[in-house]
Structure formats: structure tokens, C-alpha cells
Symmetry: C2
Subunit: 345 residues, 2 copies
């Protein structure tokens, strides 16, 4: 292939100008399983980095990986820190926004009162914000995704855990400390199964990716007939929601029943939220949502059955449009809003 060097240089120049003239944000989406990082210009991702969280290795190990991810990303994009108007960490867990602390995170074992905002801000010397990951995704989906043209939006993420973010009257609602939207640890089954948070019968222990995997592992071990056996061989304990989703999409009866059961519980949680918040739209994202109708249909049926007719008539339950980018885009929007001092918090 012949390279058109003249145009190539022009392109490089225009890219460099674009980054210099436009505001640039760096966002890290820190989840229980994955760390996604990205640099955004004009709400578009111009560089990204991915690495596993390996949360079981503990706080300092995850922190090192997070910092390395930011450094690699800046190198990859050939950007100096001076070009970045702000960093936003969109983290799983209960975030104290006043103090910039991850107070606890059921899917990040060992994280208790970690001053994540200050750690990153001091390390890079750049204005840093700390925000709940689902709140960031809610802002992203509301502004540029499935929630455009809506005013009251609930975003639900179903992956390792279950989280939520709330838009009220067109503004991200963070509550009085910054932890609003925490729907995953809503008790929906008093005296139900023990959740990682220490309580029983939380939505998360009934309907998350972890719940799906746990149920599948238990049933496979009981010798139930399923294609999951062929998929994982003797590594039964390695079954994740992903394998169950693939099997369900390939008409595996057992996998379908596991997804159906989780979706039915998810529908209970979402019906509760619809009765409380009467939103125009509920957007479901996160890795488990990618299975599509096998999840969405039982959720919608359950909501129809449980929530009051009036709020149900008003609400649409739809998949995320931005997918894995929702939190990254939302994080970039959050930096812009804070820096413009148009914040609602």
C-alpha cells in the first residue's frame, strides 16, 4: 500500500489541532471485573484501554493497574497530561462524592473508605472526579443514548453486580451524599439467599451475572442435562453468565430457565423502582443485558404484572444504546458539567 505522506501529515496536524482546541477528558470505568479507560474529545472516544480488574488481588493491586491503565492510555494517544481537562473515575460501589471516597463496594472486595479521588488527583496532578459507575452511565445514556428526549430516567446495569443511576428533571440525581441509585441491594426477598453485602434477598443476589453463574454451576454439579457441560468440560466452577447466555441463545433449556428466573427477579426490582420514581424510561445495560429479548421480555412481563398501570403505561424498558461506552461518555460529560459549574449536585 502506498502511503500518501502529504495527507497523512495533514491528518496528524488536524488531529493534534483538534485535541489542542477541544476539551479532552480521561475517564476510567472501574468495575468488579473490568477496567475500561478512555480519552474523549467532544464525547467521542479517541483512545481506549482495557484490562481485567482482578479485584481479588486487593486494593493496592487494583490501584496500580488503574494508574498503569491511565499512563498507557496517554502514551497510546500521544497526549501530555496538560491536554486533559479532568479525570473522572466511574467506580462500582457506594461513593461519598463530598470526600471522593469509595466507602464500600460489594464487587471490589477489601475496598473500605478508599480515598480514590485524592490518590489519582495527587498521582497525576489533574483535577479528578469520583462518581458511581451506574450514575455515569445514566448521564451518558440520558445525554447521548437511549434516554435522549426523556426527563426522568432510570439506568440499570446488570453485570457482576446490579447498579443504578437516576436522572430527575433532566439532571443527574446523586442524592445527599452521592450514593443515590443503589438499587442492587434492595431487599426483594426477605430471608432470601445471603448476599455479598451481608444482607439477605437483595436484588443483586437474585438477578446479577454472579447469581446467574452461581445457579448454573449449582445445577450443572447436580448433573442437569445442558450444553454447558460441553462448553466448559470439567471446569464447572468457571461457568460465568456469558456461557449461560450463549447456551440460552443456542436454545439450551436449562440455560434459558436460569436466565428467565434471573429476569423475573430483575423485573421485581424494576417494578419497585417504577412505582417509586414513575420514570419515562428504564434503560438496562451491563454485560448481562446483551442477551437481549431472553432477558427483556420476562422483565417487561413482570413489570406489567407488578407495577401500577399508570406508571407502566408511561414507561419504556429498553436496552442501553451506548453499551460499554455509556460510563465513559457519561464520565466525560460529568467533567464538562462540573468544569462549567452547571452541576446539579
Amino acid at each position: 500500500m502506498d502511503i500518501d505522506w502529504q495527507n497523512y501529515e495533514l491528518d496528524l496536524l488536524s488531529y493534534s489541532n483538534m485535541v489542542a482546541m477541544k476539551k479532552t477528558q480521561l475517564v476510567v470505568d472501574l468495575g468488579g471485573t473490568k477496567i475500561f479507560s478512555a480519552i474523549l474529545v467532544d464525547d467521542k472516544i479517541i483512545a481506549r484501554d482495557y484490562r481485567p480488574t482482578l479485584a481479588h488481588e486487593g486494593v493496592s493491586s487494583v490501584l496500580s493497574r488503574l494508574i498503569a491503565s491511565i499512563k498507557d492510555l496517554l502514551e497510546k494517544a500521544e497526549l501530555s497530561l496538560a491536554r486533559i481537562e479532568g479525570i473522572c473515575i466511574a467506580s462500582a460501589g457506594i461513593i461519598d462524592m463530598n470526600e471522593g471516597i469509595v466507602t464500600v463496594s460489594p464487587n471490589l472486595p477489601g475496598w473500605h473508605d478508599v480515598p480514590l479521588r485524592n490518590k489519582i488527583e495527587h498521582h497525576f496532578g489533574i483535577k479528578t472526579y469520583l462518581l458511581n459507575d451506574a450514575s455515569a452511565a445514566a448521564l451518558g445514556e440520558y445525554t447521548l443514548g437511549a434516554g435522549r428526549k426523556c426527563s426522568n430516567v432510570v439506568y440499570v446495569t446488570v453485570s457482576t453486580g446490579i447498579g443504578g443511576g437516576i436522572i430527575i428533571g433532566g439532571h443527574l440525581y446523586l442524592g445527599s451524599s452521592g450514593s443515590a441509585g443503589e438499587i442492587g441491594h434492595m431487599t426483594i426477598k426477605t430471608n432470601g439467599p445471603l448476599c455479598y453485602c451481608g444482607n439477605r434477598g437483595c436484588l443483586e443476589i437474585m438477578a446479577s451475572g454472579t447469581a446467574i453463574a452461581k445457579e448454573a454451576i449449582s445445577l450443572v454439579k447436580k448433573g442437569k442435562l445442558t450444553s454447558l457441560n460441553e462448553m466448559v468440560g470439567s471446569q464447572v466452577d468457571d461457568i460465568t453468565a456469558k456461557e449461560v447466555s450463549i447456551a440460552a441463545q443456542n436454545d439450551d433449556e436449562l440455560a434459558r430457565s436460569i436466565i428467565f428466573k434471573a429476569a423475573t427477579y430483575l423485573g421485581i426490582g424494576i417494578a419497585n423502582v417504577i412505582n417509586i420514581l414513575n420514570p419515562e424510561i428504564v434503560i438496562i445495560g451491563g454485560s448481562v443485558s446483551k442477551i437481549g429479548d431472553l432477558l427483556f421480555e420476562p422483565v417487561r412481563q413482570q413489570v406489567l404484572k407488578l407495577a401500577f398501570k399508570l406508571p407502566v403505561q408511561k414507561v419504556h424498558i429498553v436496552p442501553s444504546v451506548l453499551g460499554d461506552a455509556a460510563g465513559l461518555i457519561g464520565g466525560a460529560l460529568f467533567i464538562q458539567q462540573r468544569n462549567e459549574k452547571h452541576s446539579n449536585y
Copy 2:
């Protein structure tokens, strides 16, 4: 007693001037058990009327009583309709605020899509608003009661049923149709007891005044030792939450355990709401709340156990300050706000 006629006439004159010069609202609080009506000037009740709802007699009978209550109230206050700037019906149930309709109300049997706003507006020829009773009470408590100086407030009423009202960022949040705050039919016990709404394990069927009465009746019929026997004699089916409250306050063990159980479930529902909304204050009103610490302490303990530490540190769980007047005062404030077009809805 000698009457000072000169001053008496002066008083009448000043009262009449006050009503003429200041804005006057008429509010009806329509609950499952009681109809409270009042005329308010400057957020103060200057005349009031009370009658039982007798909901079992059906929609038209309740409507007649409601209209009679308004007429009697105007007569009592010696006010002509022309002096009233607006009527607000603060009603139990799921209210379609766009259409002014009570779509359904678990504690008003037979109420389905009743166009209550238009019925009252046409009958009296006065601008009429229809609002959920707990939303009205939330506005009252936020503006002039326990929620002053707060920005994010949840009001919970525990009486015949359980309802809720939400203040977000200093504004009454009504949701996309007007039904936000409906916490009573949150599923907290999947496959739990059958609720009047048709679902199972709703907060209301576990923790309302009706739930307390039902539990007491069932236990008394089983022959449990309790002072309730002396209180009601052979009329066991007439036991209400009021008798149970009185017995509990008189150290009746059985009554205390019934209140404790209901409060424990109420705490589950309130913990769920605190995790979702991260409010500064949760105000509990309604007839059952009058029992005080016997209810509030188990609720607080349960919230401490179940909700995340961060939102729990921020929140106060307190009794209503305005009591039965909360909905009436809130209704009057709502009329003022709407007429001033400073509405948030």
C-alpha cells in the same frame, strides 16, 4: 359572661378583611378511612371538617360525602366560593395528574379511573387540583414541618395503607404521570402474603395499620394471652391498629411483638428507599406513626442493618411534625405554587 360587643365586631371585621385580602385555599384529604377537609389562609387552617370515608359504600357514596364536606366547611367558615383561589383534593391512590384521575386506589375499593378533579371542578366551578395524599403531605412537611432546611426528603405515611411522597432538590417530585412515591406496593417479600393490590409480599401488606390489625385479630383468635381481649370483648374482628397501639403502650407483650414485626418490615422498605434516593430525611407520618418509639426504634435499627453506611450516616428518620394537617397544608401550598406557576411538575 359579658360580651364586649365593640371588640367582637372589630374582630369579625378583621377576620373578614384577612380572608378577603389573603389567598384562601380549600383542601380535602381523602384517605381510606377518613375525609379531612379544611380552609386555609396563609398556610393556617381556619376551618375544618371531618367525616369517615366509609369506602366500602362505593365511589358515588364517597363522592357525595366529599362534596357535602366541602359545602359544610364553606358554611362553617361563612365563606362564599368566590373567596377560594383553588380546591386541592389530596387523595389516596395512583393519581394521573395530567388527567386529574384516580386510576386505582387499593384502599378505596371500586375506584378505577374516577375523574375526581373534573367532578369537583364542575360541581363547584372553582379551579381544582388532584394530588396524591402522601405527595401533598411531603410538600407540607418539607415546607413547614420536619423537612425544613432539607433538600431531598422522603415522606412515608403509615395508616390504612402505606404511601410516600418525594422532594428532590427542594421541589415536589411527581414523576412522569404524577404517581411517583408509591412505596407501599414495593415487593419486599417475593411470594409473601397476598396484598389487596393483587400482588404478594408488598410493604403495605406487611407493615400497614391494616397488616397490624389483621395480625392481631388472627393471634387473638388463636387464643394468645393479651389485654386486647379485655379491650374489645367478643368483637375481635373490630380490632384496629389503634387498639394494638394502645395495648403496646400499656406494655402488652403480644401487641408489642405485633408492632415490632410491622416496624421491622417497614424498616426494610425504608432501607430500600434510602439506598435508592439517599435523602437527608425520612419523615414518617400517618396514624400508625403516632405510637412513637415503639415503631421508630425498630425501623431505625433495621435501616442501620440493611442500608449502606454512607446514606445511613446522612439520613434522619423522624416523626411528622404537622400530623394530620400535613396533607391539608401541603395541598394549600400546592395550589399556591400552581397558581404562581412556579410548579416543578
